[in-house]
């Protein structure tokens, strides 16, 4: 069975080609059905492999991709416990989102194009998690970035959407440069880029050795881009320009967790670099709290969810920073369930509201959209961390692990989880409770989504309810299944003492959080469901702190004035002053001086001498510079 694992890759790729080249044959919704079936086939195969998974990691060599001197980069896939979890998430959640899209994208003129991109995305995402080599992983890494670009700018007539797509791609490229340099340093250090060789060679290094810290930091820069961490997070909220299923699949459940996957995969390296882990924990915490603050006041339902995703990704990174790799992957799993659910439910709301995304113009939708209301409630309970829903277990696990390694960060994270509950219930109550605040036309069109959309929602709701039991902690008398499953696959920083949180601490943590959450629900209900207090979209009416968060702390403006504008100015300077005036002017002046007194033939002759002087002068300057500056 495991020898057929490459077929998991082939199905979505075949789907991509079928849909791309068979556009003329594919009538109606057949493109959506084909796309969904291919992902479903990959899911079935992944599940079969999961149930027959051998104890040791399995390498399946396809062929050699790049062979240059001592550098060999194979196209070979690796199936182990880490990749199988990711495979199940990608194909499972991916399949549900594909099915949902059949209904959501119905009637769009780019219907089949949408599904071909979606299939291509799944293909690259699968490469990313199945690769057994950093460079092959990087191929998937950039491939998903491409699909993200294509899907954010899916409605390409809109210039704003195109700009968001460009921004996503370029910000990711900044991270990718770090990733690439990390790969180069890895090759120079270990003589290979294949996981197996790198990890075995790394075992000879001691903790916090400079080169290991450098490699892990560079790889983490890549993760910052892909997984939207400070300072490279601003593309993700803009990425909401894409159709909502894209936000669910790519910008919540799968692609943005690639950075976490990559670090879990490289856990041997990271455990050798506690310095980098500390750094990751700080970045993760800062991102989590910053994004949560912004989410508090956003009025676009998708923007709230987007910042919430950034914030939750921050949680996962803090977990990594605490050396709790399996906890992080656990949160990746539950987050994939409940965030996909929330996005798709939001899509159902937007669908019903004829494209409206502003929660200020919603309200009271629970009667018209009972299923959507119910699943959104479950998603909210899950992300807020209310037992026994999925987010409760994974978030508590992260909090208790972080408490052991970074007590200060723990406090910030605990506050962030309070914020999370507040902004989620705010959206929930403003959308589904109170009175309808939209136009008459919108009210007239309100309708529940068709079964093709609600069925995936219900399944995701079940997963968001039960998913947490995969990692139920020992304090409830069971074994933590995910942690146990991954036990052999992840390491722990040797420099740190590994402790288990005491049961007393866990009980206190859980009880406190339940009490606080109960209070939050009551307060938010009064404020947003009963009183319907809104954040005005008119900035004149906002108080200063609200305005600050509403304008996302002016980070985009900052980047614009610190990076974009100077770059353009520099480029213009290079072009107009240096290139046209200085260099070309110099070259032309040689020519002109000579032309003035010579015929064409003599010009060619003397031009040589003139240039020779130029070359000599240039050479002299170069020699001088070389001796003065460089040596």
């Amino acid at each position: 069975m495991i020898q057929l694992a490459w077929l998991i890759l082939v199905f979505p790729l075949a789907g991509f080609f079928l849909i791309s080249f068979g556009k003329s044959i594919m009538k109606g919704q057949s493109a959506g059905i084909v796309a969904s079936l291919t992902v479903f086939a990959s899911f079935i195969l992944s599940a079969l492999i999961f149930f027959s998974l051998p104890e040791t990691p399995q390498n399946i060599h396809l062929f050699n991709w790049i062979q240059s001197g001592s550098l060999t980069i194979p196209f070979s896939i690796l199936i182990d416990r880490i990749s199988i979890i990711m495979l199940l998430i990608i194909t499972g959640v991916g399949f549900l989102i594909h099915v949902y899209s059949i209904g959501y994208m119905k009637g769009d003129e780019g219907y089949s194009r949408f599904f071909s991109y979606l299939n291509l995305f799944v293909f690259f995402m699968l490469i990313l998690v199945m690769a057994s080599d950093y460079v092959f992983l990087f191929a998937g890494w950039e491939g998903v970035g491409l699909c993200s670009y294509l899907l954010i700018g899916f409605w390409f007539k809109n210039t704003e959407y195109n700009k968001a797509a460009n921004k996503a791609f370029i910000m990711n490229r900044i991270g990718d440069l770090g990733f690439l340099l990390g790969i180069f340093l890895m090759y120079v250090t270990f003589g290979s880029t294949t996981f197996e060789n790198v990890f075995s060679a790394a075992s000879g290094y001691s903790s916090n050795q400079g080169v290991i810290v450098a490699i892990t930091m560079l790889l983490f820069i890549g993760a910052m881009g892909k997984s939207a961490q400070i300072p490279l997070y601003t593309w993700l909220p803009d990425a909401m320009a894409g159709p909502t299923p894209v936000s669910a699949l790519i910008h919540a459940a799968t692609m943005v967790t690639a950075g976490i996957y990559m670090i879990v995969r490289s856990n041997i390296l990271y455990s050798l670099a506690p310095f980098t882990l500390d750094f990751i924990a700080i970045i993760g915490t800062a991102t989590a709290v910053l994004a949560a603050l912004i989410a508090m006041v956003q009025t676009d339902i998708k923007k709230v969810l987007a910042y919430s995703t950034v914030s939750q990704l921050g949680y996962m990174f803090v977990a990594l920073g605490a050396g709790a790799y399996s906890s992080s992957l656990f949160h990746v799993t539950t987050h994939a369930f409940f965030k996909a659910l929330l996005f798709l439910a939001a899509g159902s709301v937007i669908h019903a509201m004829s494209g409206e995304q502003n929660i200020n113009r919603m309200g009271g939708l629970r009667k018209k959209l009972p299923i959507t209301y119910f699943v959104f409630l479950i998603g909210t309970l899950a992300i807020a961390g209310i037992p026994p829903f999925a987010g409760f277990f994974s978030k508590d696990e992260i909090l208790s692990k972080v408490y052991l390694q970074h007590p200060t960060l723990f406090i910030v994270l605990a506050i962030t989880s309070v914020l999370t509950a507040i902004y989620m219930f705010r959206v929930f109550f403003l959308t589904f409770y109170g009175t309808f605040r939209g136009t008459h036309d919108q009210a007239h069109h309100l309708h529940e989504s068709p079964p093709v959309m609600t069925t995936p929602l219900i399944i995701l709701a079940i997963l968001s309810t039960l998913g947490g039991f995969l990692g139920m902690p020992a304090v409830f008398g069971s074994t933590n299944k995910i942690e146990h499953f991954l036990h052999e696959s992840v390491s722990f920083p040797v420099a740190w003492s590994q402790q288990e949180p005491t049961h007393a601490f866990e009980w206190i943590l859980m009880l406190t959080s339940v009490i606080i959450l109960a209070i939050i629900i009551i307060l938010t209900y009064r404020r947003f469901a009963t009183q319907q207090i809104l954040v005005s979209d008119n900035e004149g009416e906002q108080s200063t702190p609200v305005k600050l968060a509403y304008r996302k702390f002016y980070v985009d403006e900052l980047y614009n004035s610190v990076i974009t504008k100077p770059l353009n100015a520099l480029s213009g300077f290079f072009y107009k002053s240096i290139d046209t005036k200085l260099i070309d002017g110099f070259v032309n002046s040689i020519g002109k001086g000579i032309t003035s007194g010579s015929s064409f033939l003599r010009l060619a002759q003397t031009g040589y001498v003139g240039f020779y002087i130029f070359a000599m002068v240039f050479g002299l300057i170069a020699i001088l510079l070389y001796n003065l500056v460089i040596k």
Binding site: N64, W65, I66, Q67, S68, G69, S70, L71, V135, F138, A139, E142, G143, L146, Y149, G153, F156, K157, N158, T159, N162, K163, A165, N166, F169, I170, R173, I174, D176, L177, L180, L181, F184, L185, V188, L567, N568, L570, S571, G572, F574, Y575, I578, D579, I583, D584, V587, N588, G591, L603, A604, G607, Y608, F611, Y612, A615, G619, A622, Y626, I630
Partner: protein, 489 residues
Amino acid sequence: MLTLLIFFPLLAAIVAAFSGKSAGKIALVFGIAEFAISIWMLLSFNPNGGMQFGQDFWWIKNLGISYKVGLDGISLLMVLLTTFLVPLIILSSFGREYKNPALFYSLILIMQFALVGVFSALDGFLFYVFWELALIPIYLICLLWGGKNSLRITLKFFIYTLTGSLLMLVALIWLWQQTPGTHTFDIAAFYNLQLTASQQGFVFWAFFLAFAIKMPVFPFHTWQPDTYVDSPTPGTMLLSGIMLKMGVYGVIRWLLPIAPAGIEEWGFTAIVLSVIGIIYASCIAIVQKDFKRLIAYSSIAHVGLISAGVFSLTFQGIQGGVLQMISHGINVVGLFFIAELISRRTHTNEMNELGGIRIHAPQFATYFIIILLASIALPLTNGFVGEFLLLNGVFQYNSTLAAIAGLSIILAAVYSLRAFQKISLGEANNRTIKFPELTLQEKCVLVPLIIMIFWIGIFPDTLLSIAGPSVEALQHSITRSADMTMIKN
């Protein structure tokens, strides 16, 4: 067989010159036949066999000049690039009427003759003759079929490159004087010279300037953007797709093995210049308004990386350079063809006047973005493998320089995506509202390019393995002559 390959285009040029209106079709048939010959040679080539298809007889015996040709893995790939691209370039020109087609197409074929000659020559003088011969047809193409300012621009181009090649001639003659006994221009004799470090420094600069102008490397590049923009598109394709590779090829074949000590001394300077050029040209590309000029500057950036990689003298740098020459040739020809199609249909290359082409010509937009993605080095396209190896090579040489050069992958995304957005996305305007979809003939040019983009991206080993042993031999000869210099010093 190699002699047939070299002179066949000359024969074709003569036939084309006398065939009047149908010259284009005849040139295409000859071009395809030439490609078939080169494929046949590829099939009988043994990557581990060193120089092959060799032929060697006296040309001017008294001066030690011989007709000595041969191909190793590196030059074979360059020849294949030439024979692959020339028929496509000819085909791509059919959508536009060129006055006096007989002369036009026979000049293209003479150009091919000279290019194949440059890549095969193993005698210094022969190399020089082919090198200069290549300049004349392209000069005439740009001059006679170019835009308004063609006289001024081509003159500058001509003088600039001629200056470089004269420097090279000086170096070749000087090397000839150093050969023992009755002097010879044989490359093998040049390889065996035992020059002092300072002599090698001189050889380095003479060759380097010639090659740097041709590529072009910063700051010797200012002839390039004007020439690329002003030339008729087939001329631009010949220049950017193949001719600039003469410069890099010259470095690999003539500069590195003859003056390794010169590289040791000056290689750092050459790499720094290349890296400056990468960033400098990428930045300038960002502010371009004309799409053709944007490609011209992006080409300077790409070639800068090739040059930096080759001068790093690392295995991956040189092999990546060879592969990237092929990939860049394919991608840049594709991009200039896209620019040509846009200007044929809308009569402009000003990006601000375009937009929304994708609405009515989705296939055109798809081909366009694939080529663009290849040129910004997306994995599984040809551009990635080359840039990955090149940057890797530079990184082994100096990690800081690699990090700076690596900024180009970000900047390239900036200007390329911006160009794509302005040209293809958004709402259509008066110019683009009736943009016709690709014709079958145009697809015949693009499809082979696309196939090669993915073929090299996914199976680069098929090309890398041809060049590998030759790169190894090259590295070996560099270290050997470096050792000899050390002993002598």
